[in-house]
């Protein structure tokens, strides 16, 4: 039994065995997660349940259900690996079946927040172990020997004393008649016994992808299907007044032009719009210019980037807002400090821009809606359908498709509602809604911009003795907008005695949302850059300053449901990256230097060093070193390293390619990859990854490798040039 088991287990776990049609064992587990387990991971939700499904056919084929959406993070492969490991089968025997949405059957089905691995690590393995135990028991009956005399390996059962052996498939039907064991008491393997977990496993869909097979939401094809665009107001928050559809209706291939009134909730609801439905998507798109629509854009007046900036600076100048956290007496300590420094930082709104533009396919007939949705949160999609369109959950069938990237964008289900509204207007006709890239850039749930005014006091001995941050974010004055909240546990909170975190809010009509490492991706840039300034002022460097602040190994409880912070794990990744990057042995040259940053997010500890050079205002990144601790075990190293490299390059692109979404009266000024650029191959540096293995259960990797790379880069730019980057994206004077 693993030490982490008791906390994660619940007595109400249900394990059901049945005979497969055609023979064989089907085993399903439904495991409620106790609130304590979720709280330990910094989650509020208390009703979550997890499921695992595994079956073994008479021919030995093992089928494992992938219940969560696959958006490129690799869970469709890594979660079944956990089941297969404890089942002790050969990976080549395993088939994976993608589940539809069915909360009663599958419990939680979502992708986001790097939560799949920590939540499923134990239940998946226990289910595999329970199936194995039943197969062993069945073989014991068959051979009339004690179960303890039977060994398993690679999907076979062995009785060494008599030299007999059986394949799993040969006893699977017999096992189906047995009572399943207690989930909490099935023995689990020791890590040194793993044969699948920890080995590089190629993604389950990879072969189909390289052959160009239909696998993504956008590839859904139904007989008689038509293609749609959905034109929304040019400005965020705009409402439909009236639409003249005649000219668009006469456009080639157009079958329907449908003005659609939303439910008045442009955030999580259905936005007003006009759908054009045609025989070919390009024909629908061509007809768009023929639409004559009158919009009411008054709500967005004044919602411009320049006005937001002016309001933020005014709030900082006025010392407005309220305290989020006040430890000790930072004002007094600041006044008494031998040295004081202050600086303002800011970063812009940015878009997700997953490569597969938003799309969804639906058919409505006989009062029932069938949806094929590349979404990260199908359950929320179902709730939204009921709220916005009055569709009862039992009137909806939702199929999960592979999604061409998520990064948090597909946590939102706006496209699901739009296609449902269109499909309901043309009963019996299957419709595929596809957004143009321009639609996608202009109607995102953006990572919100933010402003920080930092102050720090340093003692005569070079110690950080006072710290404050006045954060200006977006919100209604009481609650920050989605993904616009501060993290009151952010270092150096908890590491020094006298600290203040203060917050003011600016209202916005722009929709905001979680982008890969939400909160952290921006907060880390600002705070680790300013701490680098503190380190310079204190006569040291950032890794040494951080080690000094972290002090002895201990656990610091998180505030406001934030996860527990282990200073020892933080120390270990910092020390490791200092070694791998030869931090102490490098001296900055003119124009080329290394920079460092550390961050703790989504339960992962990451320290990163960037080697960058600057010539004529252009930045080149030569190499990045990453040290990360996500627990005792890397489930699939092939997927894990890809997540880290992707996160690092993603972060570099946020800083270096000029990514910024800007508004004029609520109208987004960017439109496509020419003015919202993404990383391209020439900018991808060599990336060295070192895993620091702690004795904690494994946690997720979709997000935590991203935040530190941005300040590590900007700190390198400072060392190389003396130019301090206090605003993203990076713009240097030549």
């Amino acid at each position: 039994m693993s030490p982490e088991a008791p906390a994660m287990l619940d007595r109400r776990a249900v394990l059901k065995a049945s005979l497969l049609a055609g023979g064989g064992l089907a085993l399903e587990a439904l495991i409620p997660l106790p609130a304590s387990a979720l709280e330990a991971m910094g989650e509020r939700s208390s009703a979550a349940a997890l499921s695992a499904f595994v079956s073994i056919a008479p021919d030995g084929t093992v089928t494992i259900v992938a219940k969560n959406p696959e958006i490129g993070q690799g869970v469709k492969t890594s979660l079944p690996m956990m089941v297969a490991e404890e089942l002790d089968c050969d990976w080549s025997q395993v088939r994976i079946a993608q589940a539809d949405l069915d909360s009663k059957r599958y419990g939680e089905q979502s992708a986001g927040g790097s939560t799949s691995t920590p939540k499923n690590w134990l239940p998946m393995r226990q289910t595999g172990a329970a199936a194995r135990a039943m197969l062993v028991q069945a073989a014991a009956h068959e051979w009339k020997v004690a179960a303890g005399e039977i060994a398993t390996a690679r999907g076979r059962l062995f009785h060494q004393a008599s030299g007999r052996s059986l394949g799993y498939g040969e006893v699977a039907s017999r096992a189906a008649a047995l009572t399943p064991p207690d989930l909490g008491s099935v023995p689990l393997k020791r890590p040194d016994e793993f044969t699948i977990i920890g080995r590089p496993v190629v993604g389950i869909d990879s072969a189909r992808i390289v052959r160009g097979e239909p696998i993504f939401g956008i590839d859904t094809r139904l007989p008689g299907m038509l293609y749609a665009i959905y034109q929304v107001a040019p400005a965020h928050g705009g409402r439909l007044v009236k639409a003249d559809t005649d000219a668009a209706m006469r456009s080639p291939g157009v079958r329907y032009v449908l003005p659609i009134r939303g439910n008045g909730d442009a955030d999580t609801g259905l936005a007003d719009g006009v759908a054009i439905v045609a025989t070919n998507w390009w024909l629908a798109e061509q007809a768009r210019s023929k639409l004559q629509v009158e919009w009411n854009l008054s709500a967005a007046k004044g919602h411009s980037s320049t006005e937001y900036r002016a309001k933020a600076n005014a709030a900082i100048d006025a010392g407005a807002g309220g305290d989020l956290r006040l430890d000790g007496d930072p004002s007094r300590k600041l006044a008494a400090a031998a040295k004081r420094i202050a600086a303002r930082y800011d970063y812009p709104f940015i878009a997700h821009a997953p490569m597969e533009p938003q799309n969804c396919t639906a058919r409505y007939r006989d009062g029932h809606l069938e949806v094929w949705a590349p979404t990260q949160t199908p359950q929320r999609g179902l709730e939204a359908l009921q709220r916005a369109l009055g569709l009862a959950p039992e009137s909806v069938t939702l199929h999960l498709t592979r999604a061409g990237g998520g990064f948090g964008r597909r946590l939102m289900n706006d496209y699901v509602l739009q296609v449902a509204a269109i499909a309901m207007a043309v009963p019996g006709v299957p419709v595929q809604l596809l957004w143009s890239r321009e639609d996608d850039i202009r109607r995102d749930y953006y990572r919100p911009g933010g402003w920080h005014h930092f102050e720090a006091g340093i003692s005569a001995q070079g110690e950080l003795i006072a710290f404050s941050d006045h954060f200006v974010t977006f919100g209604d004055g009481t609650t920050p907008a989605r993904a616009a909240a501060f993290n009151a546990s952010m270092p150096p909170a908890g590491l020094i005695q006298d600290l203040r975190y203060r917050q003011s809010m600016i209202p916005t009509v722009v929709t905001t949302g979680a982008l890969r490492a939400p909160g952290s991706n921006a907060l880390c840039f600002a705070s680790q850059s300013f701490l680098d300034e503190v380190a310079q002022a204190a006569g040291t460097d950032l890794p040494r300053l951080m080690l000094g602040l972290l002090g002895t190994r201990r656990e610091i409880p998180g505030r406001d449901n934030a996860a527990v912070f282990d200073t020892g794990r933080a120390r270990d990744v910092i020390e490791r990256v200092m070694q791998t990057s030869n931090w102490s042995g490098s001296t900055p040259q003119s124009g080329r230097a290394k920079g460092f940053a550390f961050y703790f997010s989504h339960r992962g500890y990451f320290a990163e060093v960037v080697d960058a050079s600057v010539a004529r205002g252009e930045v080149a990144v030569h190499k990045v070193w990453v040290a990360g601790d996500i627990g005792s075990q890397i489930v699939n190293p092939l997927g894990a390293e890809n997540q880290v490299r992707g996160a690092v390059i993603d972060g570099l692109a946020q800083a270096l390619t000029g990514q910024a979404i800007e508004f004029v009266d609520g109208v987004v000024q960017q439109s496509n990859f020419n003015d919202f650029p993404l990383a391209r191959m020439p900018m991808a540096p060599e990336i060295d990854i070192a895993w620091v293995r702690s004795d904690r259960p494994p946690t997720g990797l979709g997000e935590p490798a991203l935040p530190p790379v941005i300040p590590a880069l900007t700190n390198a730019i400072y060392s190389a040039t003396g130019q301090r980057v206090r605003s993203l994206p990076v713009r240097l004077s030549a």
């Binding site: 958006i71 490129g72 993070q73 690799g74 590089p200 190629v202 993604g203 869909d205 990879s206 072969a207 992808i209 390289v210 052959r211 160009g212 696998i215 993504f216 956008i218 590839d219 094809r221 080639p252 025989t279 070919n280 998507w281 390009w282 024909l283 821009a353 997953p354 490569m355 597969e356 533009p357 592979r402 999604a403 061409g404 990237g405 998520g406 990064f407 596809l434 143009s436 890239r437 092939l638 997927g639 390293e641 890809n642 997540q643 490299r645 992707g646 390059i649 993603d650 496509n672 990859f673 020419n674 993404l678 990383a679 391209r680 191959m681 020439p682 991808a684 060599e686 990336i687 060295d688």
Partner: protein, 159 residues
């Protein structure tokens, strides 16, 4: 307008406006959905196909301009020697994360190897710079091209 197109070794007939980009003929008229829409402006390379062996962005190629050219798409590329090597290399080191852009990446890589059997890093960077991978699998795309070209042994570790 009625067009006879030579696609993946077969002749296909479609009736569409001359200005319709080849991408939408492939995806919406012929059911060849392996070629992907990413930006519609030729910025991202997701829609890359081969026209007489050269990599072209099919979102920028009006069907009326295709004429008698031989079109090849990702669905066909595995039946060419270079395409099969690239697909095998892609799987050997599991290049992809979400996988959406990979058809376009493989088509660009295949055209590159047709021009330079042993491309330099600069040639790889330059030939592939038009293909965006939002998941940023660039290190592995580079390695997979080198593996397919016989320039790099798969070592289990990709830098």
């Amino acid at each position: 307008m009625r067009y006879r197109l030579h696609i993946n070794g077969a002749t296909r007939q479609v009736e569409v406006p001359a200005e319709m980009p080849l991408l939408w003929v492939l995806r919406n008229e012929l059911g060849l959905v392996g070629t992907k829409y990413g930006c519609g402006k030729g910025f991202c390379g997701s829609c890359t196909v081969h026209v007489n062996g050269a990599a072209r962005r099919s979102c920028q190629l009006p069907v009326g301009s295709v004429g008698d050219a031989q079109i090849h798409t990702i669905e066909h590329i595995g039946s060419t020697a270079t395409g099969a090597k690239l697909q095998a290399a892609w799987l050997k080191i599991d290049v992809m994360q979400c996988g959406y852009c990979q058809a376009g990446q493989i088509m660009s890589a295949c055209a590159l190897l047709g021009q330079a059997a042993r491309p330099s890093d600069e040639q790889i960077n330059s030939a592939m710079a038009g293909n965006i991978c939002r998941c940023a699998c660039y290190n592995r795309i580079r390695s997979a091209i080198r593996i397919a070209a016989g320039m790099e042994e798969e070592s289990g570790h990709v830098a």
